[in-house]
């Protein structure tokens, strides 16, 4: 087992995951806002923010799909050791992790069912820088409008059109994150 597999988890899991969750919750509740998140030192190519999100939300009950470069031995071993989450393909995952292009196409993921729209995947989109400008966001959690640099407006608009079904996104970069739930209109 590589040394880096054993390192980089939360040193004080209860407290650090509590802090990390508040960042994720604030981001999901206020789409477009950018928050700091820390505590994890995952192996490349994962950002610290993506590592902290996964440590906070994932365990043996949450199948994860690793897309593209994220699907490497170092990441697999690190996730297995620190979360115990099983790996799976996109169609059965609760969380997916990777760069935007590697995660495509969006129709590969569970979007929930009419009776249980919560049974949908959350995509952790890692690696693209976060800037509070670019695409305009409106919807619950946003007072008037917000702005966020987003990868593909068309694909995200198609996701919003599925509401109340659909995917939810957490964008991570360096030690920061932002989120985009399915409710948000983007243009």
């Amino acid at each position: 087992m590589q040394a880096e597999t054993l390192c980089g988890g939360f040193a004080d899991p209860a407290i650090q995951s509590a802090h990390a969750f508040r960042s994720v919750m604030e981001a999901m509740a206020r789409p477009g806002t950018i928050h700091d998140i820390s505590g994890a030192e995952p192996p490349a190519p994962l950002s610290k923010a993506a590592g902290a999100v996964l440590l906070t939300l994932c365990d043996s009950e949450t199948p994860i799909y690793l897309a593209g470069e994220a699907d490497c031995d170092a990441v697999r071993a690190w996730l297995a050791f620190h979360t115990g989450a099983p790996l799976t393909g996109p169609s059965h995952c609760m969380f997916a992790l990777g760069r935007w292009e590697a995660l495509m196409p969006l129709h590969a993921y569970p979007i929930g069912t009419p009776d249980y729209p919560d049974r949908s995947a959350t995509l952790v989109v890692d690696g693209a820088g976060l800037v509070a400008s670019g695409t305009t966001l409106t919807g619950p959690g946003i007072k008037d409008t917000a702005s966020l640099s987003l990868p593909d407006v068309g694909a995200l608009q198609a996701n919003t059109a599925l509401f109340p079904l659909g995917l939810d996104f957490i964008f991570t970069s360096g030690s920061q994150l932002a989120a985009l739930p399915r409710t948000i209109e983007v243009c």
């Binding site: 802090h19 906070t56 939300l57 365990d59 949450t62 009776d115 619950p140 007072k143 409710t183």
Partner: protein, 285 residues
């Protein structure tokens, strides 16, 4: 000091992760009830174990925590929950609404408007607004998925034909972002307008029924009504006897053996702050 016999905030980490995932899906689908696997808590169900579990999943040691029970900070229930998180999470507690970062509540929304840095956690006994129309969970799920809310309107309209107005005074149903009908918990309908566009995050936890739901900030929340009978956020038609407030929700209290009564703010922090600022009602000493 936290009591080291327990994990931080009492719940184990796996349970907190499960609740945290449910909270995120709740925020992503405002007003929709997310199922979760409720845990036994060291207090009876009637004591708001759903709210307690939500609070346990969101608290950090830096939070300042307030608990209100029908507006009051000093009931046995409120004191017990406050003490529980002082001991298990090491949080500071307060009775002052503006000083709290997390407020757990049973049956009231504070009178002072909440702000963006705050989170309001509701204790919910019955999360399903359609339950009294349809006892089967499989059917109410279907009704929500198909937006079959006609029966709910029929029930409210029966109130009007029987009483001349909508008699439902608590847990008055709302529609969230034009989609899900939601039970706001047994708050008085006077509080319903505060749900709409609130700056704080609102989280709802039902322990026995194992449901979590949420309203992100600035969410559009409308009380169900009819064109010819618009919703009214009614309250007792008196000023508060202690602080003279005319805009607060009032409880009627018996003052003496002779049956003397007065109306006082149900939000005790609001009332005390007004009295401290020199406001006096007609019954104030």
């Amino acid at each position: 000091m936290t009591d080291q016999a327990y994990n931080f905030a009492y719940l184990d980490e796996q349970t907190k992760r499960m609740i945290r995932r449910a909270i995120l899906k709740g925020l992503a689908i405002p007003g929709y009830q997310v199922p979760f696997a409720s845990r036994e808590m060291p207090m009876p169900y009637g004591w708001g174990t759903g709210g307690v579990q939500v609070s346990a999943a969101i608290l950090t040691p830096e939070d300042t925590f307030k608990v209100i029970d029908q507006g009051a900070d000093d009931t046995t229930n409120a004191v017990s929950i406050r003490t529980f998180f002082e001991r298990t999470a090491g949080v500071e507690t307060t009775t002052t609404t503006a000083d709290a970062s997390v407020i757990q509540t049973r049956h009231r929304i504070p009178e002072d408007p909440l702000s963006a840095g705050q989170i309001l956690v509701y204790q919910v006994p019955i999360p399903e607004p359609l339950r009294f129309l349809e006892p089967r969970e499989s059917e109410t799920r279907k009704m929500h998925s198909l937006e079959e809310y006609g029966l709910m309107h029929v029930k409210l309209y029966e109130d009007i034909s029987r009483h001349g107005h909508i008699a439902t005074a608590y847990a008055y149903p709302v529609k969230v972002e034009g989609r899900y009908v939601m039970d706001p918990s047994p708050i008085p309908k006077f509080d319903n307008p505060k749900l709409d566009g609130m700056e704080a995050i609102q989280l709802f936890g039902a322990g026995r029924e194992q449901r979590i739901y949420a309203l992100p900030p600035y969410t559009h929340v409308v009380s169900l009504d009819f064109e010819d009978h618009p919703f009214e956020a009614s309250k007792a038609d008196h000023p508060c006897g202690m602080c003279g407030a005319e805009d607060s929700y009032l409880d009627e209290v018996i003052m003496d053996d002779a049956g003397g009564r007065m109306f006082v703010c149900s939000d005790t922090d609001y009332c005390e702050a007004r009295q401290a600022a020199g406001h006096r009602g007609k019954d104030a000493a």
